[in-house]
C-alpha cells in the first residue's frame, strides 16, 4: 500500500512538472475578475468564451493555445473564459458565443471571428494582425485602387503590393508579420481579388497562390511616370521577405575600393550571387550606367558591385570585364569578358535558373574544379612572378649537409619541397629570419629540398613538410613545433641557443633574472622569466626540472637556483619548496607557486600554465595556446585606448579574479588583429560601437550574446548579464551556423564519364560459370589475341602465312575487329 502511494506521488509530481514546463503554452483560463482586469489594462486580447466542449471546439482550442505564443510576441493576450463557472455578462449569455472568438483592445471589442475562420495558427495570427493593422494595410479590389495609392506615394515612399488567394493562409500571415515590422516604412497593399492581377502581365494567374511586388514609388518624382515594380520570386515566408527588403534597402550599386574577394555587402552576407563590374577612370560614367541597368534587372536576385580595375589580382587576365560569384558564399570568383548589360544579366539568370536543371549544373561544376580555392596555393601562384632570391639561404646536399653539421655550431635546417605551397609560403618567413640573423657567426640558416634529396630527409626522419630542425653540436637535433612565422621562429632559434636551465648562483641573480636584467639581448624573445627554486637535497625533483628545461628548449629558458639560502626566497615569494617563481608580464609582480608533483611532465605543464596570462590579448599567433574548445569565449573587442576601453579592460581583469574559470576571457584589439572586425561582423551581422563584450558558445549551441551596447562594461553588470545568459533569460543575438568542412568542390567523376563514353570499359566482368576459374588467364590470352595478328585463322591455312610476308595487313580492319570484339562483350 505504501508503495502504491509513492507511485502515485511520483505521477503527480510529473504532472505538476509538465504543467510547469508547458505553462507558457497552456491556454490561460480566466475568471471573471481576470477578464475585467485584462479589459481594463488597455492591452489587446483575443478571448474565447467556452460553454461546452465538443471535438471541433477542442480542436479550435488546441490551435488557439498554439497561437498564444506567437501572438504573445506582438503583445496580444490569448485566453479562454469558462462560461460554465464564470458568468461573464453579455458574452456568456450570447447563444452564438460558441462559434466566435473576440478581439479586444482595452475594453473595446474590435472584432469577433467565427471560429471556423481561425482554422489554424497561421489563420489566427493573420486574421488578428490584419485587424490590428487595419490602418497600415490598404485593401484594394481593383488595379485602379492600386494606381491611386501608388500615385499618392510617389516621391514619398515605396509600396508593397501583395496578393493572397485567401485570408488566413500562411503567406497571408507572413505578409502581416512583415507589415507589423515595416508598416511604418512602406505602404502595404493587399488584395485577394484575382481580377486585380489581370493587368499585371502574369503568366498563369490562376495558379498563383500568393505574390509580392515592390513598387519603387519614392524615386518617381514625375507624376506621369509609373512606379517601377519588382516582383519577388521566392516563396513568401517572413524570413524571405525580410531579407528581400534588406537587399532592396541596400544601395543599388555598391562602389568598392577593395579587391572583389574582400567586398562585403548585404548580398555577400546573404550568400546571394554577386556581379563585379570592373571599371577605370576613363569609362567610369559608362560603367556606372551599365551597372545600374544590370542591378535593376537583377534586383533582389544578385548584387552588383563596381570595382576599380586596379584592385584586381595580377593573375586575373587583363581583358576581363566582369567577375561573378555564384550563390552559396563560395570564395571563388569567375571572370568573363562581357560588355553588354543583357549578357551580364543572362549570365546571372542562366546560372540562377539552371541550378534546378541537373545536367547543366554538372557542366557548371566542372568549371569550378579547375579554379584554385586554396588560399596558400593561390598566394604562391599569384606571386610566382616575384622571383624569390632563395640563394640567400644556403641549400644543402647529401654531402654538404653532414659537413655543415660538423663544422658549424648551430645549423638551422628547413626541410621543404618546392611544389608544396605551404613550404614555399613559409620559405619567405624563413628567409626573413635568415636575414635578421645574418650577423651571427656561429649560426647558419640552411635548407634541404626534399624533392632533390629524399635520402637526406628520410635519414633525418622528416616525413612531412615543411619542417625545421636545429642541430646544435653535441646535442640531439631539436624539431621546431611552433608557428610557421618570422617572429616565432626567430624566438625559437634565439632561445634554443641558450643553455637551459640557466644556473643562478645568488639570490640577487634570481631577482635580476626575474626582472629581465640578465640576458638582456634575449629580452625581445623572452615571454616570461621562470625560475625553479629547490633546496640542495631535492635532487630528484631538481633532475626532473632540468629535464623539463631541456624539453622546453626554444620555448622558454628556465632559471635554476639551489643554493642554501633558497628558503629565504621561498618565503619571500610565499611558495613552499620546491617552487616556481615567475613574472607573468611587465606590469605584474613576481608570483610563486609550489610544485606539487615532481614529474617532468607536470613541471612542463606548470611552466606552460604559468606562461599563460589571466586576461590575455588574443592575437592570431597566441590564440591556440588559450583556446579550449569546450569553454565559451568571453571576448572584449577594442580598437583604441580611451578611458572607456581601459576601464572595460580593468573591470574585466577584476572579473577574472572573481568568477570561476567558466569562460576563456580575453580581449582582441582590432588594431593588432584586423581580422577581428570580420569576426565581429559574423557574430552580430553588424559592427557595434567598441568596446563590445561578446560571449560565444561555439561548442554547444553556436549562440552569440552581446553585452547591452549602451551599458557601461562594469564587473557587476557583466556578472549579472552572464547570469542571465546562463539561466536563459538573455536572448542570443545570433546563432552561428556550425559549418562542416566538406569538399569545397566536386571532382572529375571519371567513372561516370567512362560509363557514358565507353560503356563496359569500367565494368566488373560477370563470371560465366564455366569459365570463371580461368578468368585470370583468359585475359592474358585475350590480350595476346588482341595484340597480335590474325593468328588463329592463319593456322587453318598454313600457306597463307607465307603469302602474308608480302601482303600488308590492314590496321583499319584490325581496329574494326577490336571494336567488334568490344561490342560483343557488351
Amino acid at each position: 500500500m505504501a508503495q502504491w502511494h509513492s507511485y502515485l506521488c511520483l505521477i503527480l509530481l510529473y504532472a505538476v512538472y509538465f504543467n510547469a514546463v508547458d505553462g507558457m503554452k497552456m491556454l490561460r483560463t480566466l475568471n471573471q475578475q481576470h477578464f475585467i482586469n485584462i479589459l481594463q489594462s488597455g492591452k489587446t486580447s483575443l478571448i474565447y468564451f467556452k460553454r461546452t466542449t465538443n471535438p471541433s471546439i477542442r480542436l479550435f482550442l488546441q490551435q488557439l493555445e498554439k497561437s498564444s505564443e506567437s501572438l504573445g510576441e506582438y503583445g496580444i493576450t490569448v485566453a479562454q473564459v469558462n462560461c460554465a463557472t464564470e458568468k461573464v455578462p453579455k458574452y456568456c449569455e450570447n447563444e452564438d458565443v460558441l462559434k466566435k472568438a473576440y478581439l479586444f483592445r482595452g475594453n473595446i471589442m474590435l472584432r469577433s471571428f467565427a471560429t471556423d475562420t481561425l482554422f489554424d495558427v497561421d489563420a489566427i495570427v493573420a486574421n488578428v494582425l490584419f485587424i490590428l493593422l487595419f490602418n497600415e494595410i490598404k485593401y484594394v479590389s481593383s488595379l485602379m485602387d492600386l494606381h491611386d495609392i501608388e500615385n499618392n506615394m510617389k516621391g514619398r515612399g515605396d509600396v508593397i503590393f501583395t496578393f493572397v488567394r485567401a485570408i488566413g493562409v500562411p503567406e497571408h500571415r507572413a505578409i502581416m508579420e512583415t507589415a507589423f515590422v515595416y508598416g511604418a516604412k512602406y505602404q502595404f497593399v493587399l488584395t485577394t481579388e484575382q481580377s486585380v492581377l489581370e493587368g499585371m502581365d502574369l503568366e498563369d494567374p490562376d495558379r498563383l497562390s500568393a505574390k509580392l511586388w515592390f513598387c519603387h514609388c519614392k524615386m518617381a518624382t514625375d507624376r506621369n511616370q509609373p512606379c517601377k515594380r519588382s516582383s519577388f520570386k521566392q516563396p513568401l515566408t517572413t524570413v524571405n521577405i525580410h531579407s528581400y527588403l534588406k537587399v532592396l534597402e541596400a544601395p543599388l550599386v555598391t562602389e568598392a575600393t577593395v579587391p572583389p574577394e574582400r567586398v562585403s555587402t548585404v548580398h555577400v552576407q546573404l550568400k546571394m550571387p554577386v556581379v563585379f563590374i570592373f571599371t577605370q577612370r576613363e569609362t567610369y560614367e559608362h560603367d556606372r550606367i551599365t551597372a545600374e541597368s544590370v542591378a535593376w534587372q537583377l534586383l533582389g536576385r544578385a548584387g552588383v558591385v563596381l570595382v576599380p580595375r586596379t584592385q584586381l589580382q595580377p593573375n586575373v587576365p587583363a581583358d576581363v570585364t566582369v567577375g561573378y560569384r555564384p550563390a552559396g558564399g563560395d570564395f571563388s570568383i569567375n571572370y568573363f569578358v562581357i560588355t553588354s548589360a543583357e549578357e551580364i544579366v543572362d549570365l546571372v539568370k542562366g546560372k540562377v535558373t539552371t541550378r534546378e536543371e541537373d545536367d547543366e549544373e554538372e557542366d557548371e561544376d566542372m568549371d569550378f574544379i579547375g579554379v584554385q580555392d586554396d588560399e596558400v596555393s593561390e598566394a604562391i601562384y599569384r606571386d610566382r612572378w616575384r622571383e624569390l632570391d632563395v640563394d640567400l639561404v644556403q641549400a644543402l646536399t647529401d654531402s654538404s649537409f653532414p659537413s655543415s653539421l660538423a663544422t658549424i655550431p648551430h645549423v638551422v635546417v628547413l626541410f621543404y619541397t618546392a611544389w608544396d605551397a605551404v613550404s614555399m609560403a613559409f620559405l619567405q618567413s624563413y628567409m626573413a629570419v635568415s636575414t635578421k640573423l645574418a650577423d651571427l657567426k656561429d649560426l647558419v640558416l640552411t635548407r634541404v629540398n626534399c624533392g632533390d634529396w629524399p635520402d637526406v630527409c628520410l635519414k633525418e626522419n622528416v616525413t612531412c613538410f615543411p619542417a625545421v630542425k636545429i642541430y646544435i653540436q653535441g646535442e640531439n637535433p631539436l624539431l621546431y613545433t611552433g608557428m610557421l612565422g618570422t617572429q616565432s621562429l626567430l624566438k625559437f632559434i634565439m632561445l634554443s641557443r641558450v643553455p637551459n636551465p640557466v644556473l643562478l648562483t645568488s639570490a640577487e641573480d634570481v631577482e635580476a633574472y626575474l626582472k629581465g636584467e640578465l640576458h638582456r639581448d634575449l629580452k625581445p624573445h623572452w615571454d616570461i622569466p621562470v625560475v625553479g627554486l629547490f633546496s640542495p637535497e631535492m635532487k630528484k625533483v631538481k633532475d626532473a626540472f632540468i629535464e623539463a628545461a631541456y624539453s622546453l628548449r626554444g620555448t622558454v629558458v628556465l632559471g635554476l637556483y639551489t643554493q642554501r639560502d633558497v628558503s629565504y626566497l621561498s618565503q619571500k615569494f610565499g611558495a613552499a619548496l620546491p617552487a616556481l617563481v615567475f613574472v607573468r608580464n611587465e606590469e605584474s609582480h613576481m608570483e610563486g607557486i609550489h610544485l606539487d608533483s615532481l614529474s617532468t611532465e607536470d613541471i612542463v605543464s606548470a611552466v606552460k600554465s604559468a606562461m599563460l596570462e589571466k586576461l590575455p590579448e588574443i592575437t592570431v599567433e597566441n590564440f591556440p595556446s588559450y583556446f579550449q574548445p569546450l569553454k565559451p569565449l568571453l571576448i572584449l573587442f577594442i580598437d583604441n585606448d580611451d578611458t572607456k576601453t581601459l576601464k572595460a579592460r580593468e573591470e574585466l581583469a577584476e572579473l577574472t579574479k572573481l568568477s570561476v574559470q567558466m569562460y576563456t576571457t580575453c580581449w582582441i584589439d582590432l588594431r593588432n588583429t584586423p581580422v577581428g572586425k570580420e569576426i565581429l561582423q559574423v557574430y552580430l551581422n553588424y559592427l557595434p560601437q567598441l568596446p563590445a563584450l561578446i560571449l560565444v558558445q561555439l561548442s554547444s549551441s553556436g549562440q552569440v550574446f552581446a553585452f547591452p551596447e549602451g551599458q557601461l562594461i562594469a564587473r557587476m553588470g557583466v556578472l549579472h548579464w552572464l547570469k542571465k545568459v546562463q539561466t536563459g533569460q538573455e536572448d542570443p543575438k545570433n546563432l552561428l551556423q556550425g559549418r562542416e568542412w566538406t569538399p569545397p568542390q566536386a571532382s572529375y567523376d571519371f567513372l561516370a564519364i567512362m560509363d557514358i563514353v565507353r560503356p563496359g570499359f569500367a565494368k566488373q566482368r560477370i563470371p560465366n560459370s564455366a569459365k570463371q576459374k580461368n578468368l585470370y588467364e583468359e585475359e592474358e590470352n585475350e590480350t595476346e589475341y588482341l595484340s597480335e595478328s590474325n593468328e588463329e585463322e592463319d593456322q587453318n591455312e598454313p600457306a597463307a602465312e607465307f603469302e602474308k610476308v608480302q601482303g600488308t595487313s590492314t590496321p583499319s580492319n584490325k581496329e574494326k575487329k577490336i571494336q567488334h570484339e568490344f561490342h560483343n562483350e557488351l
Binding site: 586596379t310 584592385q311 584586381l312 587583363a318 574544379i369 579547375g370 584554385q372 580555392d373 588560399e375 596555393s377 598566394a379 606571386d383 616575384r386 647529401d398 611544389w419 605551397a421 609560403a425 618567413s429 624533392g451 629524399p454 616525413t463 611552433g482 608557428m483 610557421l484 612565422g485 618570422t486 617572429q487 616565432s488 591556440p624 570580420e678 569576426i679 559574423v682 557574430y683 560565444v696 561555439l698 556550425g738 566538406t742 569545397p744 568542390q745 571532382s747 572529375y748 571519371f750 567513372l751 565494368k763 566482368r765 570463371q772 588467364e777 590480350t783 595476346e784 595484340s787 595478328s789 593468328e791 598454313p798 600457306a799 602465312e801 607465307f802 602474308k804 610476308v805 608480302q806 590496321p811
Partner: protein
C-alpha cells in the same frame, strides 16, 4: 611439348640416380638454413642483400664459381640493352633509379652501375664485374660451385610452413631450408621439335664472328632481341637474312614492354623494308620443316607438305626430301631459296627438372608455359614457403611490365622480403603514419620520384590505409597490386577503413604492337580528360573496403584492379613531372576531398583564427596545424601583398591603361 634439350635430360638423369639412394627418407645429416636462395644472379643477390641487411640466416647456392654467370656467356654479342643512363639533370637518387636499368638496390651509393660503365649500352662483362663486386662489398653469403640438383619437401610440424625444403647438391650434400627462394633464372634454351630441327644451330653456341657468315644465306628462327642482335651482327656479311617467327614483330617502343624488340637492335627492319634482300616471315614453328638437300643447303618447307609426302612415299627418306623441295603449289613461294645456315634464337625456359613432384611449380599456361606459375605474392601456387624471384617470376607481368628484368625484379625482391619479414618475424610492412592533411603531398611526392612504382607500373603500387575515422593515414610503398585482397595478412596492416591505391599506368588503348604510337593526338593535356592519357601516368583508386578475391578476378578487362568506388587519373606529363599546382595537385586534392568527404585546403593562420572563433569546427589543416600552434602565419607574403594593395605595381597600371 616434348623436350629435346640434351643437357637437361642429362641433368635430370644424374639427379634421379643420385636420388635413388637418398629418396627413401629424410637425409640424416644436413645443414639447416632459415632461407635458401638458389642462384647468385641479380635476383638472388638482390634477395641476399635484403636478407643480409635484416640479419637473417641464409645462404645462396651458385653452381658456377662466380656471381652472375649467365652474363659471362650472354648476351652472346656482349652488348647489354638495358640502358645505363648516367645523367638525368636531377639529384634525386630515387628518381634517378627510374632511369637506371642495371643497378641493384642498396644503401651504398658507390654500387650504382653508372660508376662501373660509361656506355649507354654497357658491355656484359661489366655486369659480371658489378655483380661480383656487389657480392663482395656486402659480404653476401654465397656458396659457389654448388649446383642444387634436387629439391623436395618433407612435412614437419615444427617448420615455419609445416614442411621443410631439402636440397641436394651435385656432391650429394644436403641442406634443410625453412623458406626456399628460387632465383635460378631462365637459362634452359628453348628448342622446339620439328622435322629438321637438328640442322639448326643455337644462339647459345653460334659463332659471333661475322666473318664466319661471309656470303651465306641465313635463316634465323625467332624474333626477339637475341634474334635481332644476331642478325645485326652478321648483317653486313651475309647474302641475305630471313627471320621467321610465330608472331609479327613486337617493337618495344610500340608496346612499352622492354622485352620486345628494342630500337638498338632493329637494323634488320630497315633492310627488309628497303628491299635490301633481308626479310621477315610469320609462321608457327610447329608448322615448319627443314630439309637438307644433297649440297647441304637447307630448305624451309611447310610441315603439312612434309607429312603428306612422308605418308605417301615410304621409301628412302632422302629421295622423299628431294621431292618435297619441289612439291609446292605456288612457284612464287616466298622461301623457295635455300639457306646455308639456320640459327635458333628462341629464348630460354625455366628449369623445372630439379624439383620433385611435390615441389615442382605448376607451369604457366599458353605463352607463359616457359615460366613457373606463382601467386601475386611471388609464392608458389602449390607450396607455401617457396618463392620464385628474379627473372623467373616474370609470369606475373610477362609482356606488361619490367618484372623479368633487373630494373623490375630488384623491387619485387624487396616486396617479397617485406612479406617474409612480416610472415616469419612479425615485422609489419614498413609504413608512415601522417595526418590526413599531408595525404596530397605524400602522393605527389611518391608519383614524382618513386622508382619502384615507375619501373614496375601496374605490378607494384602504393597503398594508403585510412586510420582514425580518416583523420590519419598509413602509407605503404610498393606492395604487389595483384595481392590486394590479401593485404592484411601479407603486411600485418588493417585495411578495414577504406584505402587508396596509387598506381602508374599506360593508357589501356595505346600500347599495342601495330598501333600508331606517334599519332598526332597521342598526348592529353586537359586534367578533365586525364583518363584518356596514353603515356605512363598516375591513377588513384579509392575503395571504401578491401576488394575480395572474387572482385579481383572479375575486374574490368585490361584493368589491374577491380572497379573502385572512385577513380582519379592525373593527366600525363611530357616531363613526367606531376607538380603543377592547377593541373596536377588541385584535381588530385579535389578527388581526395570527395572520397574522404572533407576539406583538404591549406589556410593561413588568420583564416584558421577566424574559423576557430566563429565555427564549432575548423578545417583539418587548421586543426592539425594552427590549433597545434603550428599555423602558417605567412607574414612575409601577406605583408608584401598589403604593400602591393596600397601601391599598385607598375604592371597593374599598364593593365589599367590597356
Amino acid at each position: 611439348m616434348p623436350k629435346s634439350c640434351m643437357s637437361c635430360t642429362f641433368v635430370t638423369l644424374v639427379a634421379s640416380i643420385t636420388f635413388a639412394s637418398a629418396h627413401a627418407a629424410v637425409p640424416a645429416d644436413y645443414l639447416h638454413l632459415d632461407y635458401c636462395v638458389i642462384g647468385a644472379g641479380p635476383g638472388g643477390l638482390q634477395t641476399a642483400y635484403f636478407l643480409q641487411q635484416s640479419q637473417r640466416h641464409y645462404l645462396v647456392f651458385e653452381r658456377s664459381n662466380l656471381s652472375g654467370s649467365f652474363f659471362v656467356r650472354y648476351p652472346r654479342h656482349r652488348k647489354l640493352i638495358s640502358i645505363n643512363k648516367r645523367y638525368t639533370g636531377k639529384q634525386n637518387k630515387e628518381f634517378n633509379l627510374r632511369h637506371d636499368w642495371n643497378s641493384l638496390i642498396s644503401h651504398d651509393e658507390n654500387l650504382l652501375f653508372k660508376h662501373y660503365a660509361k656506355d649507354f649500352f654497357p658491355h656484359a662483362d661489366t655486369m659480371v664485374h658489378y655483380l661480383n663486386n656487389f657480392t663482395n662489398k656486402f659480404d653476401l653469403k654465397v656458396r659457389y660451385n654448388t649446383e642444387i640438383t634436387w629439391i623436395e619437401a618433407e612435412k614437419d610440424p615444427r617448420a615455419w610452413n609445416g614442411h621443410y625444403f631439402f636440397l641436394t647438391d651435385q656432391n650429394d650434400s644436403h641442406y634443410r631450408c625453412s623458406v626456399l627462394l628460387v632465383a635460378t633464372g631462365m637459362w634452359v634454351p628453348n628448342m622446339p621439335d620439328f622435322p629438321g630441327s637438328e640442322y639448326a644451330e643455337g644462339y647459345e653456341s653460334i659463332s659471333v664472328d661475322p666473318a664466319h657468315f661471309a656470303g651465306q644465306a641465313v635463316l634465323i628462327l625467332g624474333r626477339g632481341n637475341a634474334a635481332f642482335e644476331t642478325a645485326d651482327n652478321i648483317l653486313g656479311m651475309t647474302n641475305f637474312i630471313h627471320m621467321l617467327s610465330r608472331s609479327r614483330v613486337r617493337l618495344a617502343w610500340a608496346t612499352h614492354y622492354v622485352g620486345d624488340v628494342r630500337a638498338v637492335n632493329n637494323a634488320m627492319l630497315d633492310t627488309y623494308q628497303l628491299k635490301s634482300l633481308d626479310g621477315l616471315l610469320e609462321g608457327d614453328l610447329d608448322n615448319i620443316a627443314i630439309v637438307q638437300d644433297k649440297k647441304g643447303k637447307l630448305h624451309l618447307r611447310l610441315r603439312y607438305h612434309f607429312d603428306k609426302s612422308k605418308a605417301s612415299q615410304d621409301v628412302s627418306s632422302n629421295s622423299n626430301n628431294q621431292r618435297l623441295m619441289y612439291e609446292e603449289e605456288a612457284d612464287n613461294f616466298s622461301v623457295r631459296q635455300p639457306y646455308d645456315r639456320v640459327i635458333r634464337c628462341l629464348g630460354w625456359k625455366f628449369d623445372f627438372s630439379i624439383f620433385n613432384n611435390l615441389t615442382k611449380p605448376q607451369r604457366g599456361r599458353g605463352r607463359m608455359n616457359k615460366y613457373p606459375l606463382v601467386k601475386a605474392s611471388y609464392e608458389s601456387e602449390s607450396l607455401p614457403g617457396m618463392f620464385i624471384i628474379g627473372t623467373a617470376s616474370h609470369s606475373i607481368d610477362y609482356r606488361k611490365s619490367a618484372g623479368g628484368f633487373i630494373h623490375g625484379f630488384r623491387y619485387t625482391a624487396r616486396a617479397v622480403h617485406h612479406l617474409l619479414e612480416h610472415r616469419y618475424h612479425g615485422i609489419t610492412w614498413p609504413a608512415t603514419t601522417l595526418p590526413i592533411t599531408h595525404l596530397t603531398n605524400m602522393i605527389i611526392k611518391r608519383i614524382n620520384e618513386a622508382s619502384g612504382l615507375y619501373q614496375m607500373f601496374s605490378v607494384l603500387a602504393d597503398f594508403v590505409l585510412l586510420r582514425k575515422n580518416a583523420t590519419e593515414f598509413e602509407y605503404l610503398e610498393e606492395y604487389p597490386i595483384g595481392a590486394l585482397p590479401h593485404l592484411p595478412e601479407n603486411t600485418g596492416k588493417d585495411a578495414t577503413n577504406g584505402l587508396f591505391v596509387i598506381n602508374l599506368e599506360y593508357g589501356s588503348n595505346f600500347s599495342r604492337p601495330e598501333s600508331d604510337v606517334f599519332h598526332p593526338s597521342r598526348a592529353v593535356g586537359e586534367p578533365g580528360h586525364a583518363w584518356l592519357s596514353n603515356f605512363l601516368h598516375p591513377v588513384i583508386y579509392f575503395y571504401k573496403r578491401l576488394p575480395t578475391e572474387t572482385e579481383m578476378m572479375q575486374r574490368p578487362k585490361f584493368w589491374p584492379l577491380p572497379r573502385p568506388d572512385s577513380i582519379h587519373h592525373i593527366v600525363e606529363d611530357f616531363l613526367t613531372n606531376w607538380t603543377a599546382a592547377k593541373a596536377h595537385i588541385l584535381p588530385l586534392r579535389r578527388f581526395l576531398e570527395n572520397c574522404l568527404g572533407t576539406d583538404l585546403r591549406s589556410f593561413f593562420a588568420e583564416s584558421c583564427f577566424k574559423f576557430a572563433l566563429t565555427n564549432q569546427y575548423v578545417p583539418p589543416f587548421c586543426r592539425h596545424g594552427y590549433l597545434n600552434m603550428q599555423g602558417l602565419l605567412g607574414d612575409e607574403i601577406l605583408w608584401l601583398e598589403s604593400v602591393e594593395m596600397d601601391h599598385p605595381s607598375s604592371d597593374a597600371v599598364s593593365t589599367e591603361e590597356r
